[in-house]
């Protein structure tokens, strides 16, 4: 038996909270984002994709057969729960309402994704995009309660 518990609680809310805080800061100058800080940018892009398509089944898989309990995927699977995304989706819904009040979801998601895409390319944001990015991600960060 291992000395520490091998159960891994889901920590997605903490991760996205941190991602949102970092990206809020990065929006000040999107032209010189270091490679390692592209991780929160990509992470938030993937989250927006899950939100866009309502596709939150985000599991790693254990193998083609019913066994393989010692495999990486199986153990990693433990951290996943079916409802991991609910508080995050709720935080995104409320952020969308606050920042993009009245705008169709598809258009609002597009505006956020295009900002993240430009950041991933180290391309400059317009002043309007900067304001929007800061507003969106700081609101999202606050909406995520740990």
């Amino acid at each position: 038996m291992p000395i520490m518990s091998s159960t891994r609680p889901d920590s997605s809310s903490a991760r996205y909270k941190r991602f949102a805080a970092i990206v809020t800061d990065l929006a000040d100058d999107s032209t010189s984002i270091p490679a390692y800080n592209q991780i929160p940018v990509e992470g938030l892009f993937r989250l927006m994709e899950m939100y866009r398509y309502d596709a939150f089944k985000d599991e790693t898989h254990s193998g083609v057969l019913a066994m393989s309990s010692a495999s990486y995927g199986r153990r990693h699977h433990q951290m996943s729960s079916k409802s991991w995304h609910l508080p995050i989706k709720q935080a995104l819904d409320s952020t969308m309402n606050e920042v993009f009040a009245g705008k169709p979801k598809e258009d609002a998601v597009y505006e956020v994704e295009i900002i993240l895409f430009q950041m991933s390319e180290n391309a400059p944001l317009t002043q309007e995009q900067q304001v929007q990015a800061k507003s969106f991600f700081s609101t999202f960060e606050k909406a995520l309660v740990l």
Partner: protein
Amino acid sequence: MRPVDFLKNECENLLSVLDQTLRYDYGLEGSREFYEECGQRLEYIQASLELVDPTSTHIVRELALNLEFLSELVCRIERSSLGEYSWPFVEEFKEISKALCTEKRVLKDRVVTRVPNVHVIAEGGLHTYSIYSDANKQLSKRRIFIIEFPRTLKHYVLFHTILGHEMGHAIYNIPLIQNELDEIFIENFVKASPVFKDQPTVVQWLYSEAAPQEVKARLNHLKTEHSIDHDDFFFAHADYDAWLQEFLCDFIGLLMFGPSFLGAVCHLLYSNDPLGRQVNEEHPLTGIRANTLLLAAESLGYTEWKFDQSVQPAVDAFWKDVYEKQETDPWFKVISKEAVKITVDKLQAFLANFPKTLYQAPDPENINHLVHQILDRCPPVGYKFTSEGPQYRQVDFRDIIFAGWIAQSQPGSTIKFSDINRLCEHGIMQQVSIKKMLENPKKPEDNKKAA
């Protein structure tokens, strides 16, 4: 030492392990991309540890978990090397994997793509086959996919087709694809099944009087040993969504590898469940999967393919073997053939968007030639020596594998299954050279230069 300081120290340790991964030969493309991606993940964790408020326990714990996952990933890669898996198969499979697993992001007027890192490792035995893919919620810049082969089945390329199923799981994690696959599968398969349409109906069916004795015994065991009964079967024991995803991924595997996938399923899935009637947590009963796959194979016309009369008896024997797994008990009929046909046709149309993904109906003459090469104990390749000199042609590696399955069913043949696998593996490797040669034919001036 505070937890944050301990984690910073662990980052240093992991960095030195990561440096060692560059020493080994992992594949034709080397390990630099993998090293860079993991290095950036580590750098991100290190930078976060420098900035984090040490009293912010949620964030510190989150970073610790990330570090642990990363260590596990790096250590597994570090232990694996090129000599432990069938690299000819891998190089072909990687091509399909990259095409399928590239993340496409549709931003109104443009499409942005993110190509993943595909890595291969070998470990464990029979049940190792899997594809690990970074979850969306995990730390990653470029996603990493790890294709995992059983170390013991290194050369068994005929079995490796089972990875088509795993590829289904891997692509299902991409939100755009998940959305489209769900639309096809839920509408046409789940809603059309009188058994799988919802959880209560599945439970009713499982616990019905008509269920086979093995199923009843297992359910009884769950009740007496674990206090799991019909009202909490899907809460305490099995995962309904996972069961559904297994059917979907079986169809994807079949569409990707054709009848060879069924050959692999019929051997591997029954290896730890000889009757195919085990009630598992994440997988529906093997017997149901085999029945559903057979319906799909029939719908796709595989069972009607005709070959040369010298090969047809082996093809018939192959299908006879496969049909032996079919469950005829009406309890196992969970969906109509029509519903399966509509589902696989739509999945086929969807997968046709990805180059090289679908297995195409083989040319009978080509299969005939490949099968005879195997039976003559030669690697099956697109090469023939004629009176006009050598003739080369393109051959899909999946045709080589299908020829292998046919050859192993050849009545009266004494060639061992392991030898057929080795021959096919060599065939795939040699075919890569033929492909390159056909793509870049030698010009007359090259001969002059050589002279």
